[in-house]
Symmetry: C2
Subunit: 324 residues, 2 copies
């Protein structure tokens, strides 16, 4: 592949001149500019970004670690991050941790070796200690670690909205399916909001924990089928993701329960799938696009040395469809 020297030679000028053209600095006549551009084209030259990065000490790479892009929520989040990274002249390094601490640690090291400009952490399987010592521009998704900046939706409010809707529709016995509450994720606050409102209204409820992030379909099937079998009289479900909600719908169908006639369901996230699942899922909308945008912005501002606020709670919104 052609180098800047080849271009200089071909254009019959010095490398300095080529560099000046490339970086728009110093005086360059229009003729010269054209001459250099022509040479670059003839050689199909692309400046070596690796050499540039080495010198600039900036890679223009943003690292994203998530459990798995194949999960709709993370897929849409990654899509947004990628979009805004591009807008900021950055490229996206994608890592699926599979929620495996070994892999996650390994990925973080890789990213440091590659000198990515910042890391967006949507997977958090390590000890707080390890993140603390990272000393790197970081943004966390849905998790509060010391005073690392994070972006999250207003989970507690989301839980409240879900509970309020179900109760207002007349539900008297509601199952809430959430993630593993032992992991210190902010999404646990959905449970707090939900339970508070349920208690306020004296509505019976039960909270069922899954390892939701793993996105293990069999696990979902197991948990939900057991739930339906053991408690045939529940008339409402608040699931912590739209995908779980979809599984609930599926099992309602198998158990011959009408949705929303006999049982009402509220999901969370408002991923695209929520609209094309049948029936359309009533859900708590997280502003996924905006969360991605903000995450990138926060990385960028840290790179620029700005001091940034740590808390970034984005508003949620109830989107009513056909399951309530």
């Amino acid at each position: 592949m052609a180098t800047i020297n080849d271009v200089a030679e071909r254009a019959g000028v010095s490398v300095t001149t080529v560099s000046r053209v490339l970086n728009n600095r110093g005086y360059i006549s229009e003729k010269m500019r054209q001459r250099v551009y022509r040479a670059m084209e003839e050689l199909n030259y692309q400046p070596n970004e690796i050499a540039r990065s080495l010198l600039r000490k900036q890679s223009n790479l943003i690292g994203l670690i998530i459990p798995n892009v194949a999960h709709p929520f993370f897929g849409e989040f990654a899509s947004s991050v990628e979009y805004y990274a591009y807008q900021n002249g950055c490229k996206l390094l994608l890592c699926n941790s599979q929620l495996d601490p070994v892999k996650e640690r390994d990925y973080i090291e890789m990213m440091r070796r590659h000198r990515v400009d910042g890391i967006i952490m949507g997977s958090h399987t390590l000890e707080v200690e390890e993140y603390r010592n990272l000393n790197y521009p970081i943004v966390t998704l849905d998790r509060k670690i010391d005073d690392l900046p994070y972006v999250a939706s207003d989970n507690e409010r989301g839980g409240e909205l879900a509970a309020q809707l179900l109760i207002s529709k007349g539900c008297r016995k509601i199952a809430h399916i959430c993630g593993n509450l032992k992991l210190e994720m902010l999404s646990n606050r959905r449970t707090i909001g939900f339970e508070r409102v349920a208690r306020q209204h004296n509505v019976e409820f039960m909270t069922i924990q899954t390892n939701m992030d793993v996105f293990d379909q069999q696990e979902y099937d197991r948990i939900i089928s057991r739930l339906m079998a053991e408690f045939p009289d529940i008339d409402g479900v608040f699931a912590t993701s739209d995908i779980i909600a979809a599984f609930v719908i599926k099992w309602c169908r198998k158990f011959g329960k009408q949705v929303p006639g006999q049982i009402r369901i509220v999901g969370y996230d408002d991923v695209n799938a929520a609209t094309w699942i049948n029936p359309g899922i009533t859900t708590i909308r997280q502003p996924i696009r905006e969360m991605g945008r903000l995450a990138v912005e926060l990385i960028r501002r840290q790179m620029d040395g700005e001091t940034i606020e740590k808390e970034h709670l984005l508003p949620v919104e109830l989107v009513e469809r056909e399951t309530t």
Copy 2:
């Protein structure tokens, strides 16, 4: 961030020695090895992969260009590519072209500038000419461009299987919803296979083109609702993706048509969503995981200078669920 010089200084040895430890070459005593490792740990040292890349002329980066990771098929494909890239000691650079030729061209240039080791192209909006001149390790997904290597599922066979199933279930008037046939995608062969079998059995059919890749939900709604309104007597649908199939189900519901009672539906891909949509979608399974694995392997083998076969057609499989 610490450099190899800092490590050498701290360990009281020469950089050459540190480098030898790092790369396992030459003679190194166990004591020395430990001493160097300790210094690296104390300094929280990570070798600068950028400097290494510059020297080695190898970035250990694989570029992936797809329309959008948020689309389930591409999300699952990306997930697989990421997994196998990691297995091969590579990192994944993710780009969503949004099927925008300008963006796609820009991304390809970016990747060349970053000297990625190879590019997996799942988006092809440019003229053949541009790909031809790329002169780079490339693998194409579902598209044949000159003699660039490609991986694809056995689309024609998939179309046949779908048609055979629908017909064997008694369908007499089948709608086939496919992508834009003008784009020279291998997925068009699904249409060929489907139409041939339909003709053989003298079954009436109609082929409806969409710009499927765009994943525009409104477009889907528009096309499918019109289809259902104009041809209320169709009793079978072969959709070129599971997502489109989901939209068909949705509109069947709105039109009060029973699935599979009055109308049978077959999708394509077998993305995860196919199992959790209601009813579960009967579909033609592409081995997505394997396609990702193969794509990475083909990049790696090109890097190693091997000559590789160009055609990689992977078998499809009928997965029957509840829509037929």
